[in-house]
Amino acid sequence: MALSTEDLKLAIIEKATKSPKPQLYIKDFYKCDPDSKPRVIKNVANELVREGELMFWSSGSTTMYARPDRIKNEETREDAEEHKDD
Protein backbone atom coordinates (compact mmCIF):
# COMPACT_ATOMS: atom_id res chain seq x y z
CA MET A 1 0.00 0.00 0.00
CA ALA A 2 1.21 3.49 -0.77
CA LEU A 3 2.62 5.55 2.11
CA SER A 4 0.57 8.39 3.58
CA THR A 5 1.64 11.92 2.62
CA GLU A 6 3.25 12.46 6.03
CA ASP A 7 5.22 9.20 5.88
CA LEU A 8 6.25 9.92 2.31
CA LYS A 9 7.52 13.35 3.39
CA LEU A 10 9.61 11.75 6.14
CA ALA A 11 11.02 9.16 3.73
CA ILE A 12 11.97 11.85 1.21
CA ILE A 13 13.61 14.02 3.86
CA GLU A 14 15.56 11.02 5.13
CA LYS A 15 16.73 10.17 1.64
CA ALA A 16 17.78 13.78 0.94
CA THR A 17 19.61 13.94 4.28
CA LYS A 18 21.45 10.63 4.08
CA SER A 19 22.22 10.17 0.41
CA PRO A 20 25.92 10.62 -0.44
CA LYS A 21 25.04 13.20 -3.11
CA PRO A 22 23.50 16.42 -1.79
CA GLN A 23 21.40 17.01 -4.94
CA LEU A 24 18.89 14.41 -6.02
CA TYR A 25 16.75 13.94 -9.09
CA ILE A 26 13.01 13.52 -8.62
CA LYS A 27 13.48 9.93 -9.77
CA ASP A 28 15.79 9.25 -6.83
CA PHE A 29 12.78 9.82 -4.56
CA TYR A 30 10.62 7.27 -6.40
CA LYS A 31 12.45 4.58 -4.44
CA CYS A 32 11.15 6.08 -1.18
CA ASP A 33 7.84 4.40 -1.96
CA PRO A 34 7.52 2.12 -4.96
CA ASP A 35 3.74 2.05 -4.42
CA SER A 36 3.25 5.79 -4.87
CA LYS A 37 2.76 7.14 -8.38
CA PRO A 38 5.59 9.37 -9.69
CA ARG A 39 3.21 12.32 -9.79
CA VAL A 40 2.29 11.89 -6.13
CA ILE A 41 5.98 11.84 -5.22
CA LYS A 42 6.62 14.94 -7.32
CA ASN A 43 3.77 16.79 -5.62
CA VAL A 44 5.01 15.83 -2.16
CA ALA A 45 8.61 16.84 -3.01
CA ASN A 46 7.33 20.21 -4.24
CA GLU A 47 5.29 20.63 -1.07
CA LEU A 48 8.48 20.05 0.92
CA VAL A 49 10.10 22.86 -1.06
CA ARG A 50 7.23 25.18 -0.09
CA GLU A 51 7.71 24.12 3.53
CA GLY A 52 11.43 24.90 3.34
CA GLU A 53 12.54 21.28 3.94
CA LEU A 54 13.97 20.94 0.43
CA MET A 55 15.16 23.43 -2.14
CA PHE A 56 15.56 23.39 -5.88
CA TRP A 57 18.96 23.28 -7.48
CA SER A 58 18.89 23.98 -11.19
CA SER A 59 21.52 23.81 -13.89
CA GLY A 60 19.17 25.61 -16.25
CA SER A 61 18.41 22.46 -18.18
CA THR A 62 17.71 20.07 -15.30
CA THR A 63 16.34 20.60 -11.82
CA MET A 64 17.31 18.70 -8.70
CA TYR A 65 16.28 18.77 -5.05
CA ALA A 66 18.46 19.21 -1.97
CA ARG A 67 18.27 19.81 1.78
CA PRO A 68 19.00 23.53 2.30
CA ASP A 69 21.79 22.81 4.80
CA ARG A 70 23.57 20.42 2.45
CA ILE A 71 24.09 22.84 -0.38
CA LYS A 72 25.76 26.17 -0.70
CA ASN A 73 24.90 28.82 -3.21
CA GLU A 74 26.97 29.24 -6.35
CA GLU A 75 27.73 25.61 -6.23
CA THR A 76 28.23 24.22 -9.67
CA ARG A 77 28.38 20.63 -10.64
CA GLU A 78 30.25 18.84 -13.32
CA ASP A 79 27.12 17.68 -15.04
CA ALA A 80 25.80 21.21 -15.16
CA GLU A 81 28.86 21.99 -17.22
CA GLU A 82 28.06 19.11 -19.54
CA HIS A 83 24.59 20.43 -20.26
CA LYS A 84 24.87 23.91 -21.54
CA ASP A 85 21.80 23.87 -23.70
CA ASP A 86 18.69 25.61 -22.50
Partner: protein, 426 residues
Protein backbone atom coordinates in the same frame (compact mmCIF):
# COMPACT_ATOMS: atom_id res chain seq x y z
CA UNK B 1 33.82 49.28 -13.55
CA UNK B 2 36.47 50.41 -15.91
CA UNK B 3 36.12 50.55 -19.65
CA UNK B 4 37.72 47.50 -21.27
CA UNK B 5 39.87 47.21 -24.33
CA UNK B 6 38.24 44.74 -26.70
CA UNK B 7 40.30 44.51 -29.90
CA UNK B 8 38.89 41.09 -30.90
CA UNK B 9 35.26 42.06 -30.26
CA UNK B 10 35.77 45.37 -32.08
CA UNK B 11 36.27 43.35 -35.27
CA UNK B 12 32.61 42.32 -35.00
CA UNK B 13 31.53 45.94 -35.34
CA UNK B 14 33.13 46.28 -38.76
CA UNK B 15 30.69 44.15 -40.79
CA UNK B 16 27.56 45.41 -42.54
CA UNK B 17 25.17 44.22 -39.80
CA UNK B 18 24.21 45.77 -36.47
CA UNK B 19 26.54 44.39 -33.83
CA UNK B 20 25.74 43.28 -30.29
CA UNK B 21 29.16 44.66 -29.37
CA UNK B 22 28.02 48.17 -30.29
CA UNK B 23 24.79 47.60 -28.34
CA UNK B 24 26.72 46.47 -25.28
CA UNK B 25 29.06 49.44 -25.43
CA UNK B 26 26.09 51.79 -25.63
CA UNK B 27 24.40 50.04 -22.73
CA UNK B 28 27.65 50.22 -20.70
CA UNK B 29 27.24 54.00 -20.54
CA UNK B 30 24.15 53.40 -18.38
CA UNK B 31 25.08 50.05 -16.85
CA UNK B 32 28.84 49.81 -16.30
CA UNK B 33 28.63 46.05 -15.61
CA UNK B 34 28.24 45.69 -19.38
CA UNK B 35 31.97 46.51 -19.64
CA UNK B 36 32.60 43.33 -17.71
CA UNK B 37 30.43 41.33 -20.14
CA UNK B 38 32.59 42.68 -22.93
CA UNK B 39 35.81 42.11 -21.00
CA UNK B 40 34.93 38.53 -20.14
CA UNK B 41 33.83 37.78 -23.68
CA UNK B 42 37.03 39.27 -25.08
CA UNK B 43 38.97 36.96 -22.78
CA UNK B 44 36.84 33.99 -23.89
CA UNK B 45 37.62 34.79 -27.52
CA UNK B 46 41.27 34.89 -26.57
CA UNK B 47 41.21 31.71 -24.42
CA UNK B 48 38.71 29.96 -26.73
CA UNK B 49 36.68 28.80 -23.75
CA UNK B 50 33.65 30.18 -21.93
CA UNK B 51 34.08 31.87 -18.58
CA UNK B 52 30.43 31.44 -17.58
CA UNK B 53 29.39 28.88 -15.00
CA UNK B 54 25.76 28.11 -14.61
CA UNK B 55 23.43 26.39 -12.21
CA UNK B 56 22.59 27.04 -8.60
CA UNK B 57 19.79 27.56 -6.16
CA UNK B 58 18.62 30.96 -7.34
CA UNK B 59 14.91 31.25 -7.92
CA UNK B 60 11.82 32.92 -6.58
CA UNK B 61 9.81 31.48 -3.76
CA UNK B 62 7.50 28.67 -4.82
CA UNK B 63 8.89 28.45 -8.34
CA UNK B 64 11.32 25.79 -9.51
CA UNK B 65 12.00 27.32 -12.89
CA UNK B 66 12.18 30.49 -14.91
CA UNK B 67 15.47 31.70 -13.48
CA UNK B 68 18.84 30.29 -14.43
CA UNK B 69 21.74 31.03 -12.11
CA UNK B 70 24.80 32.29 -13.98
CA UNK B 71 28.17 33.18 -12.59
CA UNK B 72 31.54 34.28 -13.88
CA UNK B 73 34.36 31.84 -13.21
CA UNK B 74 36.62 34.89 -12.86
CA UNK B 75 34.60 36.95 -10.36
CA UNK B 76 37.61 38.96 -9.15
CA UNK B 77 38.59 40.05 -12.64
CA UNK B 78 34.99 40.73 -13.70
CA UNK B 79 33.04 41.72 -10.57
CA UNK B 80 30.21 43.27 -12.61
CA UNK B 81 29.20 39.83 -13.86
CA UNK B 82 30.20 37.76 -10.81
CA UNK B 83 26.47 36.97 -10.45
CA UNK B 84 24.56 37.46 -13.67
CA UNK B 85 21.35 35.45 -13.60
CA UNK B 86 19.04 34.93 -16.55
CA UNK B 87 15.28 35.40 -16.28
CA UNK B 88 12.83 33.74 -18.65
CA UNK B 89 9.54 35.57 -19.09
CA UNK B 90 6.73 33.51 -20.61
CA UNK B 91 5.93 35.09 -23.97
CA UNK B 92 2.34 35.87 -24.93
CA UNK B 93 0.86 33.35 -27.40
CA UNK B 94 2.22 33.99 -30.92
CA UNK B 95 4.45 36.66 -29.36
CA UNK B 96 1.80 39.36 -29.69
CA UNK B 97 2.53 42.34 -27.50
CA UNK B 98 2.27 46.04 -28.01
CA UNK B 99 5.07 48.57 -27.76
CA UNK B 100 3.76 49.83 -24.41
CA UNK B 101 4.28 46.34 -22.99
CA UNK B 102 7.79 46.17 -24.44
CA UNK B 103 8.67 49.56 -22.96
CA UNK B 104 7.31 48.50 -19.57
CA UNK B 105 9.37 45.29 -19.68
CA UNK B 106 12.50 47.18 -20.69
CA UNK B 107 11.97 49.74 -17.92
CA UNK B 108 11.51 46.94 -15.40
CA UNK B 109 14.72 45.36 -16.58
CA UNK B 110 16.67 48.64 -16.47
CA UNK B 111 15.52 48.93 -12.86
CA UNK B 112 16.33 45.40 -11.76
CA UNK B 113 18.96 44.10 -14.16
CA UNK B 114 21.53 44.87 -16.79
CA UNK B 115 19.02 46.09 -19.37
CA UNK B 116 20.33 43.45 -21.78
CA UNK B 117 17.68 41.25 -23.38
CA UNK B 118 17.39 38.44 -25.86
CA UNK B 119 14.08 38.38 -27.73
CA UNK B 120 13.27 35.50 -28.04
CA UNK B 121 14.97 32.46 -26.56
CA UNK B 122 14.59 29.20 -28.43
CA UNK B 123 11.61 28.15 -26.34
CA UNK B 124 10.04 31.51 -27.16
CA UNK B 125 10.54 33.22 -23.82
CA UNK B 126 11.54 36.84 -23.51
CA UNK B 127 15.01 36.50 -21.99
CA UNK B 128 16.30 39.08 -19.55
CA UNK B 129 20.06 38.73 -19.21
CA UNK B 130 21.94 39.49 -16.05
CA UNK B 131 20.93 40.41 -12.53
CA UNK B 132 21.86 39.65 -8.95
CA UNK B 133 20.00 37.43 -6.48
CA UNK B 134 18.71 40.34 -4.36
CA UNK B 135 16.76 41.70 -7.35
CA UNK B 136 14.90 38.48 -8.12
CA UNK B 137 11.95 38.71 -5.73
CA UNK B 138 11.22 42.43 -6.36
CA UNK B 139 11.47 41.86 -10.11
CA UNK B 140 9.13 38.86 -9.91
CA UNK B 141 6.62 40.83 -7.84
CA UNK B 142 6.49 43.72 -10.31
CA UNK B 143 6.46 41.43 -13.34
CA UNK B 144 3.48 39.49 -12.07
CA UNK B 145 1.52 42.16 -10.19
CA UNK B 146 2.10 45.19 -12.39
CA UNK B 147 2.82 43.77 -15.87
CA UNK B 148 0.63 40.68 -15.36
CA UNK B 149 3.21 38.43 -16.90
CA UNK B 150 4.71 35.25 -15.58
CA UNK B 151 8.03 33.47 -15.62
CA UNK B 152 8.56 30.76 -18.23
CA UNK B 153 9.77 27.20 -17.74
CA UNK B 154 13.32 25.96 -17.25
CA UNK B 155 15.02 22.89 -15.80
CA UNK B 156 13.04 19.64 -15.71
CA UNK B 157 9.78 21.51 -16.10
CA UNK B 158 7.26 21.83 -18.84
CA UNK B 159 8.80 24.62 -20.92
CA UNK B 160 6.86 27.68 -22.05
CA UNK B 161 4.47 26.40 -24.73
CA UNK B 162 4.83 28.18 -28.09
CA UNK B 163 2.55 28.58 -31.10
CA UNK B 164 2.48 30.03 -34.59
CA UNK B 165 0.48 33.14 -35.37
CA UNK B 166 -2.49 30.90 -36.14
CA UNK B 167 -6.00 32.14 -36.70
CA UNK B 168 -5.05 35.63 -35.61
CA UNK B 169 -3.54 36.31 -39.02
CA UNK B 170 -3.24 33.13 -41.03
CA UNK B 171 -6.04 31.70 -43.16
CA UNK B 172 -4.37 28.27 -43.21
CA UNK B 173 -4.59 27.63 -39.51
CA UNK B 174 -6.51 24.37 -39.01
CA UNK B 175 -7.06 24.99 -35.30
CA UNK B 176 -6.77 27.91 -32.94
CA UNK B 177 -3.10 27.64 -32.02
CA UNK B 178 -3.24 30.56 -29.60
CA UNK B 179 -6.21 29.11 -27.73
CA UNK B 180 -4.47 25.73 -27.45
CA UNK B 181 -1.17 27.28 -26.34
CA UNK B 182 -2.82 29.54 -23.78
CA UNK B 183 -5.27 26.85 -22.63
CA UNK B 184 -2.57 24.29 -21.93
CA UNK B 185 -0.28 26.90 -20.37
CA UNK B 186 -3.01 27.66 -17.85
CA UNK B 187 -3.95 24.01 -17.37
CA UNK B 188 -0.37 22.98 -16.61
CA UNK B 189 0.77 25.83 -14.35
CA UNK B 190 2.16 23.39 -11.81
CA UNK B 191 4.25 21.49 -14.38
CA UNK B 192 5.43 24.78 -15.90
CA UNK B 193 6.68 26.25 -12.65
CA UNK B 194 7.84 23.21 -10.72
CA UNK B 195 9.99 20.34 -11.90
CA UNK B 196 7.99 17.25 -12.68
CA UNK B 197 9.90 15.19 -15.18
CA UNK B 198 13.14 13.31 -15.86
CA UNK B 199 14.10 16.21 -18.14
CA UNK B 200 12.59 19.13 -20.04
CA UNK B 201 9.32 18.72 -21.98
CA UNK B 202 8.11 21.07 -24.73
CA UNK B 203 4.78 21.60 -26.44
CA UNK B 204 4.57 23.55 -29.66
CA UNK B 205 1.56 24.31 -31.84
CA UNK B 206 1.58 25.02 -35.58
CA UNK B 207 -1.70 25.67 -37.34
CA UNK B 208 -0.80 23.83 -40.56
CA UNK B 209 1.96 21.62 -41.96
CA UNK B 210 4.05 24.66 -42.92
CA UNK B 211 4.95 24.41 -39.22
CA UNK B 212 6.12 27.98 -38.68
CA UNK B 213 7.24 27.28 -35.08
CA UNK B 214 9.26 24.24 -36.23
CA UNK B 215 7.33 22.10 -33.75
CA UNK B 216 8.35 18.96 -35.60
CA UNK B 217 12.03 19.57 -34.95
CA UNK B 218 11.91 21.25 -31.57
CA UNK B 219 9.20 19.85 -29.34
CA UNK B 220 8.53 16.69 -27.42
CA UNK B 221 4.84 17.04 -28.24
CA UNK B 222 4.26 18.77 -31.59
CA UNK B 223 0.67 19.59 -32.50
CA UNK B 224 0.47 20.43 -36.20
CA UNK B 225 -2.76 21.41 -37.93
CA UNK B 226 -4.15 19.21 -40.70
CA UNK B 227 -7.46 18.34 -42.39
CA UNK B 228 -9.25 15.16 -43.35
CA UNK B 229 -11.35 16.10 -46.36
CA UNK B 230 -10.45 17.44 -49.82
CA UNK B 231 -8.33 20.49 -50.52
CA UNK B 232 -10.83 23.18 -51.55
CA UNK B 233 -10.25 24.12 -55.18
CA UNK B 234 -11.43 27.28 -56.91
CA UNK B 235 -11.09 26.20 -60.56
CA UNK B 236 -11.53 29.77 -61.89
CA UNK B 237 -8.62 30.94 -59.73
CA UNK B 238 -6.51 27.99 -60.96
CA UNK B 239 -7.07 29.33 -64.50
CA UNK B 240 -6.07 32.82 -63.37
CA UNK B 241 -2.74 31.44 -62.10
CA UNK B 242 -2.24 29.57 -65.38
CA UNK B 243 -2.91 32.78 -67.33
CA UNK B 244 -0.46 34.69 -65.13
CA UNK B 245 -3.15 36.95 -63.65
CA UNK B 246 -2.19 36.06 -60.09
CA UNK B 247 1.45 35.89 -58.96
CA UNK B 248 2.47 32.49 -57.61
CA UNK B 249 3.41 32.10 -53.93
CA UNK B 250 1.56 35.32 -53.13
CA UNK B 251 4.27 37.24 -55.02
CA UNK B 252 7.02 36.02 -52.69
CA UNK B 253 9.37 35.26 -55.60
CA UNK B 254 8.64 38.40 -57.61
CA UNK B 255 12.11 39.95 -57.24
CA UNK B 256 13.30 38.15 -60.36
CA UNK B 257 11.79 37.09 -63.68
CA UNK B 258 11.20 33.35 -63.44
CA UNK B 259 9.34 33.18 -66.73
CA UNK B 260 5.65 32.40 -67.17
CA UNK B 261 3.96 30.28 -64.49
CA UNK B 262 3.92 26.59 -65.42
CA UNK B 263 1.41 24.65 -63.30
CA UNK B 264 2.76 21.32 -64.54
CA UNK B 265 6.34 22.09 -63.58
CA UNK B 266 5.79 24.18 -60.47
CA UNK B 267 2.82 22.48 -58.83
CA UNK B 268 1.75 19.14 -60.27
CA UNK B 269 5.30 17.95 -60.96
CA UNK B 270 6.46 18.87 -57.46
CA UNK B 271 3.62 17.17 -55.60
CA UNK B 272 5.57 14.63 -53.49
CA UNK B 273 2.94 11.91 -53.82
CA UNK B 274 2.08 12.62 -57.48
CA UNK B 275 -1.59 12.86 -56.62
CA UNK B 276 -2.46 15.88 -58.81
CA UNK B 277 -3.33 16.08 -62.49
CA UNK B 278 -5.23 18.23 -65.01
CA UNK B 279 -8.36 16.89 -66.65
CA UNK B 280 -8.97 19.41 -69.44
CA UNK B 281 -9.16 22.73 -67.61
CA UNK B 282 -9.86 21.13 -64.24
CA UNK B 283 -7.24 20.54 -61.55
CA UNK B 284 -7.81 17.21 -59.80
CA UNK B 285 -6.39 15.94 -56.50
CA UNK B 286 -6.63 12.41 -55.17
CA UNK B 287 -7.16 13.21 -51.49
CA UNK B 288 -6.45 9.66 -50.36
CA UNK B 289 -2.86 10.05 -51.60
CA UNK B 290 -2.26 13.68 -50.51
CA UNK B 291 0.16 13.99 -47.57
CA UNK B 292 -0.95 17.56 -46.76
CA UNK B 293 2.55 18.89 -47.52
CA UNK B 294 1.09 22.36 -48.31
CA UNK B 295 3.21 22.83 -51.44
CA UNK B 296 0.34 23.36 -53.90
CA UNK B 297 -1.52 25.59 -51.44
CA UNK B 298 1.60 27.71 -50.84
CA UNK B 299 2.07 28.21 -54.59
CA UNK B 300 -1.56 28.99 -55.44
CA UNK B 301 -3.12 30.38 -52.24
CA UNK B 302 -6.01 32.05 -54.07
CA UNK B 303 -7.00 28.81 -55.77
CA UNK B 304 -6.39 26.14 -53.11
CA UNK B 305 -7.26 26.02 -49.43
CA UNK B 306 -7.08 23.34 -46.75
CA UNK B 307 -10.28 21.34 -46.26
CA UNK B 308 -12.94 22.14 -43.68
CA UNK B 309 -12.76 19.03 -41.50
CA UNK B 310 -9.80 20.26 -39.51
CA UNK B 311 -7.81 19.12 -36.51
CA UNK B 312 -4.18 18.26 -35.86
CA UNK B 313 -1.51 15.62 -36.12
CA UNK B 314 0.47 14.84 -32.98
CA UNK B 315 4.16 14.04 -33.36
CA UNK B 316 6.20 12.98 -30.36
CA UNK B 317 9.86 13.10 -29.43
CA UNK B 318 11.88 15.78 -31.26
CA UNK B 319 15.04 17.08 -29.66
CA UNK B 320 18.31 18.89 -30.28
CA UNK B 321 21.58 16.92 -30.28
CA UNK B 322 22.49 16.45 -26.63
CA UNK B 323 22.88 12.77 -25.69
CA UNK B 324 22.10 11.16 -29.05
CA UNK B 325 21.90 13.07 -32.31
CA UNK B 326 19.13 15.51 -33.17
CA UNK B 327 15.85 13.96 -34.15
CA UNK B 328 12.50 14.95 -35.60
CA UNK B 329 9.31 14.01 -33.83
CA UNK B 330 7.64 10.78 -34.91
CA UNK B 331 4.11 10.81 -36.20
CA UNK B 332 2.05 9.32 -33.39
CA UNK B 333 -1.57 10.39 -33.76
CA UNK B 334 -2.55 11.09 -37.39
CA UNK B 335 -5.66 13.10 -36.51
CA UNK B 336 -6.98 14.55 -33.29
CA UNK B 337 -9.60 17.21 -32.55
CA UNK B 338 -8.22 20.36 -30.96
CA UNK B 339 -11.26 21.85 -29.37
CA UNK B 340 -11.39 24.82 -26.98
CA UNK B 341 -15.01 23.85 -26.20
CA UNK B 342 -13.84 20.62 -24.56
CA UNK B 343 -10.92 22.49 -22.93
CA UNK B 344 -8.56 20.42 -25.07
CA UNK B 345 -9.40 17.21 -23.24
CA UNK B 346 -8.42 15.12 -26.29
CA UNK B 347 -4.89 16.56 -26.19
CA UNK B 348 -4.68 16.40 -22.41
CA UNK B 349 -5.54 12.72 -22.42
CA UNK B 350 -2.65 11.95 -24.80
CA UNK B 351 -0.18 14.23 -23.00
CA UNK B 352 -0.87 12.57 -19.67
CA UNK B 353 -0.54 9.09 -21.11
CA UNK B 354 2.96 10.05 -22.22
CA UNK B 355 3.85 11.76 -18.96
CA UNK B 356 2.64 8.94 -16.71
CA UNK B 357 4.78 6.49 -18.66
CA UNK B 358 7.85 8.70 -19.16
CA UNK B 359 7.97 9.85 -15.51
CA UNK B 360 8.26 6.22 -14.55
CA UNK B 361 10.43 4.79 -17.33
CA UNK B 362 12.51 7.78 -18.49
CA UNK B 363 16.05 7.98 -17.16
CA UNK B 364 17.39 11.15 -15.60
CA UNK B 365 18.06 13.72 -18.33
CA UNK B 366 16.52 11.57 -21.03
CA UNK B 367 14.11 13.34 -23.40
CA UNK B 368 10.96 11.41 -24.21
CA UNK B 369 12.22 10.90 -27.80
CA UNK B 370 15.28 9.14 -26.40
CA UNK B 371 13.13 6.98 -24.14
CA UNK B 372 11.09 5.96 -27.20
CA UNK B 373 14.31 5.17 -29.06
CA UNK B 374 15.51 3.06 -26.15
CA UNK B 375 12.34 1.00 -25.68
CA UNK B 376 11.37 0.94 -29.36
CA UNK B 377 8.40 2.48 -31.15
CA UNK B 378 6.21 -0.68 -30.87
CA UNK B 379 6.39 -0.47 -27.06
CA UNK B 380 5.55 3.22 -27.14
CA UNK B 381 2.55 2.56 -29.41
CA UNK B 382 1.23 0.07 -26.86
CA UNK B 383 1.54 2.69 -24.12
CA UNK B 384 -0.37 5.13 -26.30
CA UNK B 385 -2.95 2.43 -27.07
CA UNK B 386 -2.53 3.10 -30.78
CA UNK B 387 -2.37 0.84 -33.81
CA UNK B 388 0.76 1.37 -35.89
CA UNK B 389 0.31 2.85 -39.37
CA UNK B 390 2.58 2.48 -42.43
CA UNK B 391 4.07 5.99 -41.96
CA UNK B 392 5.73 4.73 -38.78
CA UNK B 393 7.77 2.08 -40.60
CA UNK B 394 11.25 3.45 -41.15
CA UNK B 395 12.74 0.70 -43.26
CA UNK B 396 11.90 -2.76 -44.62
CA UNK B 397 12.38 -5.44 -41.99
CA UNK B 398 15.85 -6.91 -41.57
CA UNK B 399 15.06 -9.02 -38.51
CA UNK B 400 13.71 -12.45 -39.59
CA UNK B 401 12.08 -13.24 -36.24
CA UNK B 402 8.53 -12.40 -35.29
CA UNK B 403 7.84 -12.01 -31.60
CA UNK B 404 4.28 -12.66 -30.52
CA UNK B 405 2.77 -11.23 -27.38
CA UNK B 406 1.00 -13.75 -25.17
CA UNK B 407 -2.44 -12.29 -25.85
CA UNK B 408 -1.88 -12.65 -29.59
CA UNK B 409 -1.44 -16.44 -29.36
CA UNK B 410 -4.49 -18.73 -28.93
CA UNK B 411 -4.19 -20.40 -25.54
CA UNK B 412 -1.38 -18.05 -24.44
CA UNK B 413 2.07 -19.28 -23.41
CA UNK B 414 0.88 -21.54 -20.56
CA UNK B 415 1.06 -25.27 -21.21
CA UNK B 416 0.55 -28.44 -19.28
CA UNK B 417 3.91 -30.23 -19.10
CA UNK B 418 2.33 -33.62 -18.47
CA UNK B 419 0.12 -33.29 -21.54
CA UNK B 420 3.19 -32.24 -23.53
CA UNK B 421 5.23 -35.20 -22.29
CA UNK B 422 2.52 -37.66 -23.38
CA UNK B 423 3.41 -36.81 -26.96
CA UNK B 424 7.10 -35.87 -26.63
CA UNK B 425 9.67 -38.14 -24.97
CA UNK B 426 12.15 -36.49 -22.64
Amino acid sequence: MAKRDTPLLDELEKGPWPSFVTDLKRQAEKKPECWDILGQLELSYHDRITHWKHGGIVGVFGYGGGIVGRYSDLPKEFPGVAHFHTIRVNQPSSKFYNTAKLRALCDLWEKHGSGMTNFHGSTGDLILLGTTTDHLEPLFYELTHELHQDLGGSGSNLRSPACCIGKARCEWSCFDTQAACHGLTMHYQDELHRPAFPYKFKFKFSGCPNDCVAALARSDFAVIGTWKDDIRIDQAAVQSYIKGEFPSNGGAHSGRDWGPFDIQKEVIGLCPTECMWMEGDELKIDTSECTRCMHCINVMPRALRPGVETGATVNVGAKAPILEGAQFATLTIPFIKVDPESEFEELIEQIEKIWDWWMEIGKNRERVGETIQRVGLPTFMKIMELEPIPQMVREPRSNPYIFWQEDEVPGGFERDVREFRKKHAQ
